[in-house]
Every structure is written in C-alpha cells, then in structure tokens.
C-alpha cells in the first residue's frame, strides 16, 4: 500500500447523481446496442449477444402499436426479475410527464430512465423535471430544438425518436439528419444569428451558443425507432449516431439471438462493409415492418 493508506490526506465526500456521473454512463454505452426485452430470458439472450444495456418493458413497441390502449410503466416485479438476470445496466420507461412513475423507477434503482413517447403521455404540456432525480434520463427528439429542450430539463442522453415498432428506418434517418444538419449549420451562425436560432428552435440561448462553439450536443446522441437489420445500425452510425436502441427489431425477427449479435457487430464495425455483410448473411427474416402511410398515429408526435 502507498503512503495515503495511512489516511494522511483527507478525502472528499462521494457526490452521487451529478451531471458528470449521469452523462458518464451514456458515454460508456457509446458504440453499443441497447435492446428492448420483455422477460428475464430475453434479457439473458440480449446480454449473451453483447448488448451494452437492456430496456425492461412489458410489450415491445410493435405490440403496443397493435394492441392499443394505455401503455404505462412496467410492473416493478418484471423490472426486478430482469435486474436479477443480467449484469449490464437496466433501463426502464416512464410516461412523458409522469414524474411519479419516474420516482418509482428511481426507487427500483434502474440505471437509466427513458421518458418515452412509446408509452401514453401523462402530461400534454410538461415533461419531467429531470434535474430533480439522481438517476439519469434519456429522452427522444425529432429535431434539434426538441433535443435542447430535453437537455435543458436535465436529460443526460438524447435519442432520435424514429417511429418505434415499425421496423422502418426512414423516420430515424429524418430525425438524425435534422438534428445533426442543424448542429452543422449552427456552427456557421454569428452572434446575432444565434439568437435567431434560439427563437427558431424554441431552445435556451445558452445551449444554442454552446453548440455553435463546440459543434456537438452536450450529451451523447443515440438512435432509436425502426432499426431492424445490421445495415440499419451501420447506416445510422455513419450518419452520426453514437449508439443504437433496438426495440422490436430483435425479438420480432425469426432468429433473435443471431439478429441481436449481428446488430451488435454491425454497430461496432459500421465502417467495415465486409464485416456488416458477413454478419448479415442468412439471418432469417427481419421483423415485418410497416410503411409510414399505413400508420394511423405517429408516436414521434408525442412530446413537446
């Protein structure tokens, strides 16, 4: 042991729930795949396949879309069973604005809370004040203004919304291109123009100025909503996503363990087309998927 083992130097307190600690976990998930699971067995399959985290929920978005009705936070017993089953971080969803569900998820010690448009919103005007929690939050966004409003409320990770449960990547691509394109354009804006951007985006001027300076969001940007194949993952990673969420795409495919592993490898080797080709071969059927015109309600429109 070294000299400090004698306890000579006073040691500072442990500070939990700081923004550095919250965004730190998002940083550790970069380059990885977060998978939706509805049972402890599925969580094991996801971990075996190399998932960096699992999202514990009762129904995958494709089933929520099919079944209709009000979609709520999962049963704590289900979340606990999944926490018991795996060693990787476990996330869970709360309804938009439903801070009491979020309090329950924090009490269960989930590792990340997704304030998610996939569930039925609980508040038509307000999102959760995420600064009030020590557990970090991820929120969906369709454009830069929405992303910055969520960050100003305390979100430590942003994901594109895409259109969950469709197996159609087109909306996620639109959202990523919109967010990343506007970040790029914003770096060209001079001082007065930045005020114009803040007004246009309905976003706090401080965050707009920060992005104009740094050219990136102050938290990691992940992609969600419609990823169904390894190539989908490679596409969004090349567009600038830093990690991917896969909802229905794995357990609605014909061979979930193989699909899961293939998407994990494609997310890591997204610039290596030969590797993506290798893992894509003979995967069986991807989830069926839906055309956007077949959809009656867009989940991405939820959130304000």
């Amino acid at each position: 042991m070294t000299s400090d083992a004698a306890g000579a130097a006073p040691e500072s307190e442990r500070s939990t729930g700081t923004f550095t600690v919250k965004r730190g976990l998002a940083d550790m998930l970069r380059g990885g795949v977060i998978m939706d699971v509805v049972t402890a067995d599925q969580a094991k399959i996801a971990e075996d396949a190399g998932a960096v985290s699992v999202m514990a929920l009762e129904r995958v978005p494709a089933d929520i879309r099919r079944d209709g009705g009000v979609a709520r936070m999962s049963d704590p017993a289900l979340i606990e069973a999944i926490q018991e089953a795996v060693t990787i971080p476990v996330m869970a969803k709360a309804r938009i604005g439903h801070f009491a569900e979020a309090q329950v998820l924090q009490a269960l010690a989930v590792d990340y809370i997704d304030e998610s448009e996939v569930l039925t919103p609980a508040d038509e005007a307000h999102h959760i004040d995420k600064w009030a929690f020590s557990v970090p939050f991820v929120c969906g966004a369709t454009n830069l203004g929405e992303a910055l409003r969520r960050i100003s409320e305390g979100a430590a990770m942003i994901r594109s919304k895409g259109e969950a449960g469709t197996g159609n990547i087109v909306e996620a691509v639109r959202h990523l291109r919109s967010i990343i394109g506007d970040i790029r354009r914003l770096t060209q804006a001079d001082g007065p123009e930045q005020y114009g951007w803040a007004k246009h985006l309905s976003a706090p001027i401080g965050l707009v100025q920060e992005i104009a300076r740094t050219g990136q969001l102050p938290v990691p940007l992940f992609c969600a909503g419609g990823i169904a194949t390894p190539s989908d993952a490679a596409l969004v990673m090349q567009l600038g996503a830093e990690a991917v969420f896969v909802g229905s795409g794995i357990f609605k495919s014909s061979d979930p363990p193989r699909m899961a592993r293939a998407i994990v490898e494609a997310t890591t080797h997204y610039e290596d087309a030969e590797h993506v080709a290798k893992v894509s071969r003979g995967l069986g059927e991807a989830m069926r998927g839906e055309e956007m015109t077949e959809i009656t309600e867009r989940l991405a429109d939820r959130g304000w």
Binding site: D4, G7, T18, M28, G31, G50
Partner: protein, 202 residues
C-alpha cells in the same frame, strides 16, 4: 510514438482527446492488423461483457493478449481494469480476461448507477513521478469495479476508503500495466495519461 485505443465500444473519444492534449498520437484498434507498430494500448471504459464478446468476434483476443503478455504498455480504465484482472467476481461465467494484473475485481462493486459517484483522491506517487504538486485528483466512478485483492507485485497509486472500513485500491500499476477503477478520461486532469505516456516512452 502512437498509442492504440481499443475502439470496439465505450468512451474511446475521451481517451483520444486526453492524449491529443498531451500531443501524443493515437489510433483506433478494431482488428488484428491495427495492433502493428503500437507503442502502447488503452482499454477504455465501456461494458466489459460486450467488450469481451467483441474481442472474440473481432479475432482480437489472442493477438492483443499476446502483445500485452509480451510487455506492450497497457492502460485500462473501469471496464479496461476488469479486462486486465486475473479474476472477476460477479461477472459472467464465460467472461474472459487477459490476466495481466495480479488483482481480483468485483464488477459493479460500488453498486448500480444510482450509487455512481465523483470524488477526489490523493495520489502522491503520481505527483512525485511527474514532479507536479500533489493536488486532489478528481475521479469519476461509473458502475465501477472494486479491486478486492491486489497481489504483492501490484503498486497502489491511489485508494479510496471503502464502506466496510479499510481502503480499496483504485489506481494500480504492475510492470507495464496501469489501471484505474475510475475514469480519468472524463475529467480535465491529465496526470494518469501523462504517467502512461511516460511508461510508453520508456
């Protein structure tokens, strides 16, 4: 002199930025050919189970293990420490490690994310080696591993009072292996990256 950063998953960018500040060149490592000509390698933070699966599927586990065993300087943070340890508690049964560091670690030994924390450490050895003042070393612990036992050949560079009394080693060195349970790359303090750059230059 170029340092490789294992770039399969995790906070690769923060390590690259830290070395860029010190004007040390880095390159991402994703396949065996990327190991050629490296002066050192960094195993970043991430999920150790994911990293260990990807090391296998990328055919990197054996060649990387061989260069580390051959004495290539290696710096592991958090998940990187887990990958270097001799043995892992509370891991997956099939989780493989390089065994380059005579330590037993417990995954997520400080608890879930709710218990992740920032603290400040004392690291007099680093200060003396770098001839810098021994100011507080900021340390970010994210679902961090605990070093349960460290062998006699392991030098403890910093420790943290453990909840059960006593102290847990949180920055350790053994020969050409440097490892931390926390993430120096998430702070602006570059002392550990400086020390590693010196180990590489030696």
């Amino acid at each position: 002199m170029t340092i490789g950063i294992l770039a399969l998953q995790g906070d690769v960018r923060e390590h690259a930025l830290a070395f860029a500040e010190l004007e040390v060149a880095t390159t991402p490592v994703r396949r065996p050919a990327d190991l050629e000509g490296l002066a050192g390698i960094v195993l970043p933070g991430g999920e150790s189970t994911t990293l260990s699966m990807l090391l296998e599927s990328s055919q990197l586990f054996e060649p990387l293990g061989a260069v580390i065993a051959g004495g290539l300087p290696v710096f592991g943070t958090c998940a990187g420490l887990v990958l270097l340890a001799a043995d892992v508690l509370d891991g997956r049964p099939d989780q493989r490690t390089f065994g380059a560091l005579d330590c037993v670690v417990r995954r997520n030994g400080y608890g879930r994310q709710r218990d992740s924390f920032e603290s400040e450490l004392s690291a007099p050895t680093l200060a003396a080696e770098l001839e810098m003042p021994d100011s507080a070393l900021p340390a970010v612990f994210i679902r961090a591993p605990v070093v349960v036992t460290a062998g006699p050949g392991v030098e403890v560079l910093a420790s943290l009072s453990s909840q059960g009394g006593g102290r847990d080693p949180v920055a350790v060195r053994q020969g050409s292996v440097l490892a931390t349970a926390f993430h120096p790359e998430l702070t602006g303090d570059r002392r550990l990256h400086r020390v590693f750059a010196r180990m590489v230059a030696r």
